[in-house]
């Protein structure tokens, strides 16, 4: 069953990829990241900072809208519930008669405003990045889910990086096409290159996660 979900994972994971060098990096040193070690281990500190960059992408609407904890996907920058009662279904692909691919084709349909990419689907619940009230989970919680091989389709760190680099639905987030009114969908806060770089930094640091509260 997991095999089928490969691409799913790819999606989320891919979002992870990202940034390193980003300027805004440690911006939130705030995040209750550390233990003592990180204070003295620059690599760990960089890794945690890089993670926050990755997290900023994962929780952007282009990514998190399909990483819900509920029975439905979201849409739009306001992350509203998807219209027309679209539901997750047993495999994250909708249900017979109302599949994700009933509308979402292999590429964006800009003339009608429907986004598309290969095998459009929701992330599995193990990769939910929101709670049931549609609020994004904390950075630490998402991080730990991501590195948990029982939840992430058994990807190791290198696998996560590759996912962020290559998975088509991850890449989609940076070419999300046009809305029905013809305007362009907004992009994640980092470029894809920045996202991959951040993921690499984080992976190189041993995929550290902010400490739980």
């Amino acid at each position: 069953m997991w095999a089928n979900h490969r691409s799913l994972l790819a999606v989320f994971l891919s979002m992870l990829v990202g940034f390193v060098t980003c300027i805004a990096l440690s911006t939130r040193a705030s995040i209750e990241t550390t233990d003592k070690a990180s204070a003295v281990d620059p690599k760990l500190a960089d890794g945690l900072a890089a993670w926050e960059q990755v997290y900023s992408v994962l929780t952007s609407p282009r990514c998190i809208n399909c990483h819900t904890a509920t029975t439905y996907p979201q849409q739009g920058d306001d992350r509203r519930r998807h219209f027309a009662n679209i539901i997750r279904g047993p495999a994250g692909k909708g249900v017979p008669g109302l599949n994700c691919v009933s509308c979402h084709q292999s590429e964006n349909a800009d003339s009608t405003g429907v986004p598309g990419g290969p095998n459009w689907h929701l992330a599995p619940l193990s990769m939910r990045w929101q709670d049931k009230n549609d609020r994004p989970l904390s950075s630490g919680t998402v991080c730990r889910a991501l590195v948990d091989r029982t939840r992430n389709n058994d990807l190791n760190a290198a696998g996560l990086l590759k996912h962020h680099q290559e998975e088509p639905l991850v890449l989609w987030a940076w070419s999300p096409g046009r809305r029905p009114d013809g305007t362009r969908r907004t992009l994640p806060p980092l470029t894809h290159a920045e996202f991959v770089a951040a993921t690499r930094t984080w992976v190189d640091a041993g995929t550290p996660c902010p400490r739980a509260k």
Binding site: F83, N85, S111, G182
Partner: protein, 730 residues
């Protein structure tokens, strides 16, 4: 149904109409009506020959035995395409399997016998044409019987009819189709006998719809499906605020698209717009999307919902024009505060949004025109088209096209869609053009159920019943400034604003209802069940609240409060009580019952619903509905209307059209929320009160009861009263 039918109509319902029989050009017997005859004219074969247009036939018996029956109404879901032919075929003793129904074009003979225009609305199709179609059937049958009797040299009394065959003495028989030529020479009978209810073979039976198969295999053609040689498709760019005008336009990009035929400014009923004419719809739409229009929006009101609410609520605190003043209005002020309720209600604008987008096709040939319109208002729409084209109405051949729903949206007094189409057709002279309103045009295009504020003050008597009731309604008039105003506005009160309140079936000794009709720059229109959408909600939720305060069962409380002469509603309430008793007494945990009843358009409805809360929304597990609609012509269709009308009524709980700076904030079904299958009751069981009274309508009456019934149930679950629609949070 054994009793004789209590229908004491004057048989000569169409006083100015006369029956004529003739041979159809293509063969077969035509039974027609014609109007406005010289005084000397008589019914029968001396009548003028049939005309090509406007047509006047109601029955066409073809040589192959098929019987074509003309339906003088739009079919848009309500089922008259089956029910009216049933009525005629029953009296005619026609073989039902050979009956084919056809929608009548616009013509005088097809006008509603009571309204005087050709239309569907007010649940009048069966109510007003029942007697007409029976007579037509009975007279046709009588002529066929006379033809057979003469052929056999027997008395008509010795003949009987069944399944399109006349049977005579000694085993003689003749199929109707064999009697065409003889019957055409007979004078239409002056006196006929209509059947007793016990003789009905179709009326009162569960007869499946005639249009089912075509609507299940894709072959049914609707107005939007029309395809004519050389036809063009038009879309119109409308101003973002009602009444706006085109200041300037850059149509270079639009014209650059292959297949775009013409782009030009057109006048609208309010303001102006830009028409795009192309070979195909998608081309036209793309071109419209590329128009750069600078709109002049000066000097027009920019409606704003939040400002309107503030204004409406303030207005509702002052007395309006008096609709009802019964008893002493001062009694209320004497009731102690502990026994008073003050309730303020909010209802938003609602769009009808029939599934089938608005459309009209017209070809203008200079001195004639032909129009194809899914119309609830044929007479008005034909006149409007003629006026724009500088023709007389009879110069516009007007085809009634099947419509995918309407709910009032195709009965527009100013015929704005048809006027747009006619303006475009005039420019395209000689070329047929189909105007399509996209869904966005429809959602943003106005003609909504008006928004309303109600303020009700109730003084409760020591017995727990309302002793005094002061009710103020604020909402735009549907007919002010139209030809309908004379009939429908009295003492400054639009009857459609207060119907359902002013004429309540509850006995309230001191009862005062008044109305304010603000003017707002938003076109408004009747929406299925009209004023009863909001008035029934207010009445039925308040009655429920009173019952709860009095600690009396809501059904018992209503029975106590109903006027003695509210027999229909009492009967419906009794029946719903009986039919829902079992499940009401076995409700699962977390479920509650909600009750509502209401009479409108002479049909009484009572409803009990089983509701729980799932995913923060009301989940309606079941609705039991009882209805008294007089004689039930087709119980299958009636049940269908009630099952569906209940679902349609849920729109009140889900949907809203709102304005900001004059613009509609919704654009399509992604923002204007409508009931899908999950929002509708899982089951709806419909029970019909047995009756031999004249049939009344079933299109409008199902709608009002469901919303109050659901929130009455919610109130039991949450302890909250819901007075602002739609339900945003529970």
């Amino acid at each position: 149904m054994r009793a004789a039918l209590k229908l004491d109509y004057d048989l000569d319902l169409n006083r100015r109409s006369f029956l004529r029989v003739s041979i159809a050009a293509a063969g077969g017997l035509l039974v027609s009506l014609y109007l406005d005859l010289p005084a000397t004219a008589q019914e029968g074969n001396q009548a003028p020959p049939p005309r090509a247009y406007p047509p006047d036939a109601f029955v066409h018996i073809r040589p192959d035995g098929k019987i074509l029956i003309t339906v003088n109404r739009l079919e848009f879901g309500q089922g008259v395409q089956t029910s009216l032919p049933m009525i005629l075929a029953d009296e005619m003793d026609a073989d039902w399997s050979q009956v084919v129904a056809e929608l009548a074009p616009a013509a005088d003979v097809y006008k509603d016998p009571l309204y005087g225009i050709q239309m569907v609305g007010g649940s009048g199709s069966i109510a007003h044409s029942f007697q007409q179609y029976r007579e037509l059937g009975a007279k046709t049958r009588a002529m066929l019987v006379v033809a057979a009797a003469d052929r056999w040299h027997v008395s008509p009394d010795q003949c009987r009819t069944e399944n399109s065959v006349v049977y005579g003495p000694a085993g003689k028989s003749a199929r109707y189709a064999e009697l065409i030529k003889d019957a055409a020479r007979k004078a239409a009978p002056e006196k006929i006998r209509l059947k007793n209810a016990s003789e009905f073979r179709l009326i009162g039976k569960r007869v499946p719809r005639l249009d089912s198969r075509a609507k299940c295999d894709g072959s049914q053609k609707f107005g939007l499906d029309l395809d004519l040689p050389g036809m063009k498709v038009a879309v119109v760019a409308h101003p973002p605020v009602f009444g706006g005008r085109v200041k300037s336009m850059d149509d270079k990009d639009a014209r650059g698209i292959a297949g775009v035929h013409e782009v030009f400014e057109i006048p609208l009923v309010k303001g102006g717009g830009v028409a795009v004419v192309a070979d195909k719809f998608w081309t036209a739409k793309q071109a419209r999307d590329r128009l750069k229009i600078d709109w002049d929006l000066s000097g027009i009101e920019h409606a704003d919902s939040s400002q309107l609410w503030t204004r409406y609520k303030e207005t509702a605190r002052t007395p309006g024009n008096v609709a009802v003043a019964r008893g002493d209005d001062k009694v209320l002020d004497g009731v102690p505060a502990a026994r008073r309720i003050v309730a303020e209600y909010e209802f938003p604008y609602l769009a009808h949004t029939p599934m089938d987008p608005l459309n009209t096709t017209i070809r203008f040939d200079g001195n004639r025109a032909e129009a194809w319109v899914p119309s609830q208002f044929q007479t008005m729409d034909q006149m409007a088209i003629a006026q724009v084209l500088g023709l007389k109405p009879e110069q516009v051949t007007f085809h009634t096209e099947y419509a995918g729903g309407g709910f009032g949206r195709r009965a527009v007094i100013d015929s704005h869609v048809q006027r747009e189409a006619a303006v475009i057709a005039k420019r395209l002279r000689g070329t047929p053009v189909k105007l399509i309103w996209t869904r966005e045009d429809d959602v943003r295009g106005g003609y909504y159920r008006p928004m309303h504020a109600h303020r009700v003050e109730i003084g409760i008597g020591p017995d727990g019943l309302p002793a005094a009731w002061r009710h103020v309604v604020v909402g735009q008039s549907l007919v002010a400034g139209t030809p309908f105003a004379v009939m429908m506005i009295k003492n400054g009160v639009d009857a459609t604003t207060v119907e359902g309140t002013a004429n309540t079936n509850y006995h309230i000794p001191n009862f005062h209802v008044s109305a304010h009709h603000p003017t707002v720059n938003v076109p408004v229109l009747w929406w299925r069940s009209v004023g009863n959408t909001h008035t029934a909600f207010v009445m039925e939720t308040l009655i429920d609240e009173l019952a709860t305060r009095a600690k009396i069962d809501p059904i018992a409380y209503r029975r106590k409060l109903l006027k003695p002469d509210a027999k229909k509603l009492r009967g419906a309430l009794d029946l719903v009580d009986e039919q829902s008793a079992t499940w009401r007494n076995r409700l699962p945990k977390g479920h509650a019952v909600g009750i509502a009843c209401h009479e409108c358009f002479d049909t009484a409805v009572a409803c009990a619903v089983d509701v729980s809360i799932e995913n923060k929304r009301p989940r309606i597990h079941r609705a039991t509905v009882a209805v008294d609609c007089g004689l039930a012509v087709n119980p299958l269709t009636i049940k269908s209307q009630f099952q569906g009308g209940i679902g349609f009524g849920i729109t009140q709980l889900t949907g809203a059209i709102t304005f900001k700076d004059g613009r509609v904030e919704q654009r399509n079904f992604d923002g204007y929320n409508l009931p899908y299958i999950i929002d509708a009751p899982v089951t709806v069981d419909v029970h019909i009160v047995p009756s031999t009274e004249a049939p009344t309508g079933c299109g409008e009456p199902p709608v009002p009861v469901i919303s109050p019934a659901v929130v009455n149930a919610l109130a039991k679950l949450t302890g909250k009263r819901y007075r602002s629609l739609p339900l945003v949070t529970i």
